[in-house]
Every structure is written in C-alpha cells, then in structure tokens.
C-alpha cells in the first residue's frame, strides 16, 4: 500500500517535472517565415502564465503590444527528434524574457523581429531558417511559443545539435550524483552516529528494566515456591 502511494507520487512528480522541462527548455524548428505582426494582448486572465514579463511592463498594465512571427514549419514528432517533410502553420510570439523566468535573459526582441522580417519568403521561393523557441502553441488558450533566436539555413534538412539541452542534462546528472554523495556522507557521518547514541541509551534503559523485572519475579517466586 505504502509502496503504491510512493510510486504514484513519484510518477506524478516525474510527469510534472517533464512537462515543465518540455515547456521551458529550448527546441528548434525548421521554418519558413511568411510574415510578422504586432497586436495588443489582454493579459488579465489566468492565461497570463503563457506570456512573458518584460521589464517595461510593470505588472500593473492590463494589456500591451506583443510582436509575432508567422511561419510554416516542418512538422516534428517526439520532442522534435523526428522531423517530417510535411508543413504546418506556426505562429511565435516574440517577447523579452528580461530577468524573469525562464532565465534566458532575452532583450533583443526588436532585433529578432528585424531578422525575421529579413527572412520572409514565399512558398515558391522559400528561404529556410531555424527558430529556437520555448513554450507551446495552444490554440484554445491563445498561447504561443516564444521565439528566442532565428538563423538562416541552406536547406530544410539541416542537422541541429541541441547544445543547450546537452549541457543542461549533463549538469543535472552531475548535480544529482553530487547531491546523492552529499546525502550518503551526511547519513553515514551525522545521522547514523546520532541514532546509535539513542540506541545505546535505549538499551541501557531496557537492561535496567530487565533487571528490575528479574528481581520482582524472584521475590514472587520466593512466595509461590515455583
């Protein structure tokens, strides 16, 4: 029973962390930019969590202008590892993340918009580009992934190495191993000796109680004769 509860909680935790990582870590899309626009967005509902908090928005404004990049992207599956030839429209927001979460310190929204404008092309004469983005497109909640960088590429079959994620997961693994070593050391050198002290004290109490009980039963036996 306890084991089932433990496993369920761990599974829920793993799913939550995985979903947060999928939202937050950068992914790459091969795209063809078809347009850019700027539109005022109301930011008062709970879907506020799908928008950034750049510094110029003090947190009190109910709405502000957001820039967008309209593209056609190569469809991807399995966290972007498998890319197909099919295309589908994708719209990115282009917002500063500033000093807030996620910590990418993006301040070059205006520059990125100019770069995207420069890469605009048509279906007949496509110019391909790789967009680095985080976040999801959820049409129901009007959520857009945030574009962080764009670079032109020769062909849509470009090989993309996710350096950031490689370094990130290597750091996470190193951190987990280090924390484990720290915990083992702490348990061996600090917790176990303390427990042993408690056990020693308890054994003394126990031995004393045994002795007292022995005396009482001997006295009792001296009366009953058994």
């Amino acid at each position: 029973m306890m084991r089932t509860i433990r496993r369920t909680l761990l599974a829920i935790l793993a799913v939550v962390v995985g979903v947060m990582l999928d939202y937050t870590l950068p992914q790459h899309d091969v795209v063809r930019v078809v347009g850019t626009y700027q539109e005022r967005q109301d930011l008062e509902s709970w879907t506020r969590i799908f928008w950034s908090s750049p510094d110029y928005q003090s947190g009190t404004q109910p709405n502000r202008d957001v820039q967008f990049i309209q593209t056609y992207k190569k469809k991807t599956y399995l966290f972007g590892f498998i890319r197909s030839d099919a295309e589908r429209p994708m719209v990115y927001r282009n917002e500063d993340t500033s000093w807030s979460w996620p910590p990418y310190f993006k301040f070059d929204t205006a520059t990125l918009q100019a770069e995207a404008d420069n890469l605009k092309s048509t279906q007949e004469n496509p110019k391909w580009a790789v967009i680095t983005k985080y976040g999801w497109r959820i049409q129901l909640f009007t959520a857009f992934p945030n574009a962080m960088a764009i670079r032109a590429v020769e062909s849509p079959d470009v090989t993309i190495i996710p350096w950031f994620n490689i370094v990130f997961f290597a750091a996470v693994i190193a951190l987990v191993l280090f924390i484990r070593a720290m915990w083992l050391q702490f348990r061996q050198r600090t917790i176990d000796p303390a427990l042993e002290d408690t056990r020693d004290a308890w054994e003394k109490v126990d031995a004393y109680a045994d002795e007292r009980r022995g005396r009482v039963s001997r006295w009792w036996r001296s009366w009953t004769g058994r």
Partner: protein, 89 residues
C-alpha cells in the same frame, strides 16, 4: 525590479548550496584524516594524539586553497548567466 529579485533569490539559493557543499567538504576531509590515522595506527580509535592529528589536519584545511574553491558555487552560475546573456542577445 526583476533584476533585483533575480540577484536576491539567486544569492539566497546559491548560499544554501554553498553551506551544504562546505559542510560536505569538511566532513569528507575529516573522514580522510581519520582513515589515514587508522592506517598508521591500527586499533587506535580514541587517543589524544589522534584528536590532535585530526585537529591539525582540519586547521590546515581551513587555511587551505581547496576550501576557497567552494566560492565557485557563486562564480560558475554567474559566468553561465553572463555567457547565456551574450549568446542570446
């Protein structure tokens, strides 16, 4: 404002890590000294000489360079953030 928040919470978070790492490092050093003594003096687990040896070793550790390396706990994240800043922008 967000910058101040980042600095303050980042500093607090890294300070917790700093304290944990220095506690761990001290513990590992003490264990090493104990093992070293046990190798040279089998059977001796509780003598004045042993205590003096371990105290001297810990004193040397406190003044040593290795302990100062723990400051990297602050420096590496700062460098990573700066690198990210220049790569993104």
């Amino acid at each position: 404002m967000a910058f101040v928040r980042l600095i303050v919470f980042g500093f607090l978070f890294l300070s917790v890590i700093y304290l944990a790492v220095s506690f761990y490092s001290r513990s590992v050093r003490r264990e090493k000294l104990e093992n070293h003594w046990a190798e040279d003096h089998p059977g001796d687990t509780d003598s004045i000489e042993r205590d003096a040896y371990i105290e001297a070793g810990m004193q040397a550790y406190r003044k040593g360079f290795r302990r100062k390396l723990i400051v990297l706990v602050y420096i590496i994240p700062a460098i990573a953030a700066a690198a990210l800043f220049f790569l993104i922008n």
